[in-house]
Amino acid sequence: MPPRRTASLRVISDPRPAPLVPNAVLGMLIFIFTEAMLFAGLISAHSITKASSAVGWPPPGQPRLPVEDTAVNTAALLLSGVVVFFAQRRFRRDRAGAFLPLAAGIALGAFFVGFQGVEWVGLIREGLTLTSSTHGAFFYLIVGVHALHALAALLALGWAAAKLRRAVLPPSTLAATALFWYFVVLVWPVIYLRVYL
């Protein structure tokens, strides 16, 4: 019987320190910074046009925006942000237990987007369109860009929830998608204050 050949095993530990911020979160932060500038530009242009309007704002003959209904919708969106935050905290202690609050956050977010769709249908019927006035153009542009971000963030959260269900969700993925949702949630009150009020 030939002698058994053995190889020595050398364990090499990674000498680099652990990153301060996971790559997924860093990438998302950079994306959010650029998107924050996009919204800042849109809101600035709206503010200047509103202030320079010679006929008042909203222009005469244009429908008023549903301020009270949107306040309720804003509360739903803010609540969704809080629920997702709790889901993220729960994830650290009990991964499976984070699914329910995450799903609730997604449902509240979907309610927000759906409610906005209904609001848009009503406003279009009342005569506020992209071409009816500068007011309409800014409204649909700013709120529409936000709605697109909300949809994208909801899709990302849904994807994260599906991974969580299969128990293959890395913490950094949840952190990055939740961060995107927090951005969508936090930019909305600014839009509400500037565009609706």
Binding site: M37, I48, K50, A51, S52
Partner: protein, 82 residues
Amino acid sequence: MIRAAAILAVLLALAPELAHACAVCGAGVDDDQSRVAYLLTTVSLSALPLALFGGFFLYLRAKHRRQATTHGAAGRGAPEPK
């Protein structure tokens, strides 16, 4: 290129109203409300990137210090190698 720029400059000098064609540059500059709006948007657009990157830098610095303190404490608490 230089010739084209010169022709453009001459045209603008002959028809100065073209220089005011920008939809917002000359709008309502005389009233206070739009002046304040210009000022506030200029300040917010200038300060926002600084605030975002500055806030992120401060967060990273605080996290790095916390991590260094934790590792330092763990290192001091570890048993001496024999």
